[in-house]
Symmetry: C2
Subunit: 202 residues, 2 copies
DNA sequence: CGAATTATGTTGTTAAAACAACAAAGGATC
DNA sequence: GATCCTTTGTTGTTTTAACAACATAATTCG
């Protein structure tokens, strides 16, 4: 997904990694707001102006970091290349819960401005994952079924919602139980659609 | 000592550090001989030809590494800026023993070719340290005393020899005891010279 | 031994990072 | 509100690293 085929100059890769890891380190030490570009570039041992060759600003960097860490976390727990199945959906839900929970603990929740950024990135990445899963299931009766776009959108928001719930309740609940409950609800919706008649529970 | 006043381009510092740490990592994993320039530069995420902009070859890099790690180790245990005293000399002896012992354990002793390189670097650095200590003690009766150069040379080789002895005997002996014995021998020699009449034992 | 592969150094060109200097926006302080 | 100071973005120039290509040791292997 977004796997750039062209070989990038090693210096670019190195510089980006330095920026990313410096920023992640700083995020564990202080608030997002109080971090300056200079702080980041100092720690990365690069020039301040070089930062702007890679990212528009701090916010774009944060976008990128969330997208990247989210996809890394998901890829380590879910086979994105696999086909759609209730089991894969379950894994995805649990992975999202885990990610958002970790995010809640790892970084100060003081920055209210960050929540919408995280929301946008996580939901849009979920949409892409789900759309790639669902698209192949499209039947010939397109007019009878909800479109893959609509299904992916709805599912992505549902899963984001579940993840948010989990991350807020924290240790009080079992992630797996929540995932199973959510699957029950979702399966009712999904199986009413002809596209999903072949998708069975394990 | 060799403290270059001019500000170096951060890229140069970063590249050198990357080369140095990659090389040190590789030295812990395999023999010096089997390490290629490509191995080093791959791990350092730099281009192979960039290596040659910083070091002539693998051997020059090793020279530099020994010099650097030696001075780092010494500086952490001896105040080089201080003046000459038996106590400082004792600290220096112990520090050299520690360094050479660690070198013996850390890296494979299979590379016989490395010993002379280490010898050269350690002795020459010791010479510089000792010369800077001894020089201020020179009296006006230069013709009566052994020159600072001769004294520094003799002492540096003596201390290197002590360090070698310690590193070979390993845990069998107490570094401090050896240092004290050596100091007894050295003080006999040193105190016969008018330059050292003011240098007392603690 | 001889061929094939691999490692070493070198060179000229291209792309990226460093640097310095600037204008402008944002915050703090009086 | 005026002032000072910090941070932000931008730009043009210089320096360094990447790259590709080459010739030449040095190794490996049949």
């Amino acid at each position: 997904m977004a796997d750039n085929g062209k070989k990038l100059d090693p210096r670019i890769l190195r510089t980006r990694k330095l920026i990313e890891s410096s920023f992640l380190e700083l995020l564990e030490e202080e608030d997002f707001q109080s971090i300056t570009i200079q702080d980041i570039t100092d720690r990365a041992t690069i020039n301040r102006s070089t930062f702007y060759a890679h990212f528009d600003d701090k916010y774009m960097l944060f976008d990128h970091i969330i997208r990247q860490t989210f996809m890394q976390s998901i890829k380590s727990k879910v086979l994105l290349s696999a086909e759609f199945s209730m089991n894969n959906l379950r894994s995805l839900i649990i992975a999202v819960c885990d990610y958002l929970t970790r995010l809640n603990w790892q970084y100060r929740p003081t920055d209210l401005q960050l929540k919408p950024v995280i929301e946008t990135q996580v939901q849009s990445q979920l949409y892409k994952i789900l759309f790639n899963w669902i698209k192949p299931l499209e039947t010939d009766f397109e007019n009878l079924n909800p479109s893959s776009e609509l299904t992916a959108s709805m599912l992505s928001w549902s899963i984001y919602g579940i993840g948010l719930q989990c991350s807020q309740l924290g240790e009080l609940i079992s992630v797996e139980e929540v995932a199973d409950q959510a699957l029950d609800l979702l399966s009712g919706t999904l199986f009413s659609s002809p596209s999903f008649e072949s998708v069975e529970m394990a």
